[in-house]
Symmetry: C2
Subunit: 190 residues, 2 copies
């Protein structure tokens, strides 16, 4: 998605050789108008794919999943939680994911009533790095007897191998911008 690559170059910044910081429009400050275009692009990428539900993970994935929902005729959006609130008092599915930028391990949780057998669930997130979060979400989908319709990321860190790992597991992966290399403060895309 050319408009996204342009936005990453113009508004993003890099830290070292591994981190792309897009807090001006994606994961701290959000450009909701631009996210609408991102949502539409996900529909284009997954054209013809049946989607009963969109699953993401708090926090940055939420805006993306909701923006995409509009273009998939508003299926329910579910976001996995990193901590269970006291009101999450029934059964839930849980899977572990490491966060690259936070250096922590999260146990992603989804109330079991929101994953139904046979549903086709599209997984969307802001970043795809090593693929840990996507694998955890896919595990949750499968624990509930549902099916992964596809995995979409706004920005893929191509050098971390996540999409290869997910494709090897048989998932369809679509990343709207694939960063191949960060060198001397500059980002190179595929």
């Amino acid at each position: 998605m050319e408009a996204l690559k342009k936005k990453i170059v113009e508004e993003g910044s890099v830290i070292g050789t591994e981190i792309v910081k897009v807090d001006t429009f994606l994961n701290h400050q959000i450009d909701a108008e631009f996210l609408d275009k991102i949502g539409e692009e996900f529909r284009n990428r997954f054209a013809g794919v049946e989607v009963d539900k969109i699953l993401t993970v708090e926090a940055s994935g939420i805006a993306i999943a909701c923006a995409a929902a509009k273009y998939f005729d508003y299926p329910p959006v579910v976001f996995a939680k990193k901590a269970a609130p006291s009101t999450m008092n029934e059964g839930f599915y849980e899977a572990e994911a490491r966060s690259f930028t936070k250096g922590t391990v999260s146990k992603l949780k989804v109330d079991s009533k929101f994953i139904c057998p046979g549903e086709k669930i599209l997984i969307l997130d802001d970043f795809l790095a090593s693929g840990e979060a996507s694998v955890a979400l896919a595990q949750i989908v499968e624990m509930g007897g549902a099916e992964v319709a596809g995995i979409g990321a706004v920005i893929e860190k191509g050098y971390q191998g996540g999409s290869d790992r997910l494709r090897e597991k048989g998932y369809r992966v679509e990343s709207l911008a694939v960063v191949r290399k960060i060198e001397d403060g500059k980002v190179t895309f595929d």
Copy 2:
């Protein structure tokens, strides 16, 4: 907002006499189509109010703030974080807020570059209970020399006094549904 009250009654559930659970459409599973209507209603409530930015708090506030952004001509949406990622490496404003449902104290953080002097900032969130989160967000706005344009909540727990507290401080508060009482598993609205 009648459609919201109806949805709370039909799809929500209550726990004891203090908790309204709306995880089927607002804060775990999200009905993005309905949130669009909520966003429009916030514009109606704050008609004529100048809004340069919308501030909310992760996670459940994000979808609401983004839905509202559309009806305010897409100002930037900023969400306060409860934990600072390793990429948040510059100055940030911080204020404490207790979470009623989680029983925890969060230190809400916003990168200082996202609050600019003179900006008129609308604060939106899913719940207004004791008002702790809104007060914390208002403090952050004011730390940055910006101004609170108003405070909006989707659901107010009227019995917890938060809106009175906020109005005493001089803020304009708009809640789309005010729960007055929960008794015998039933919700009564103002």
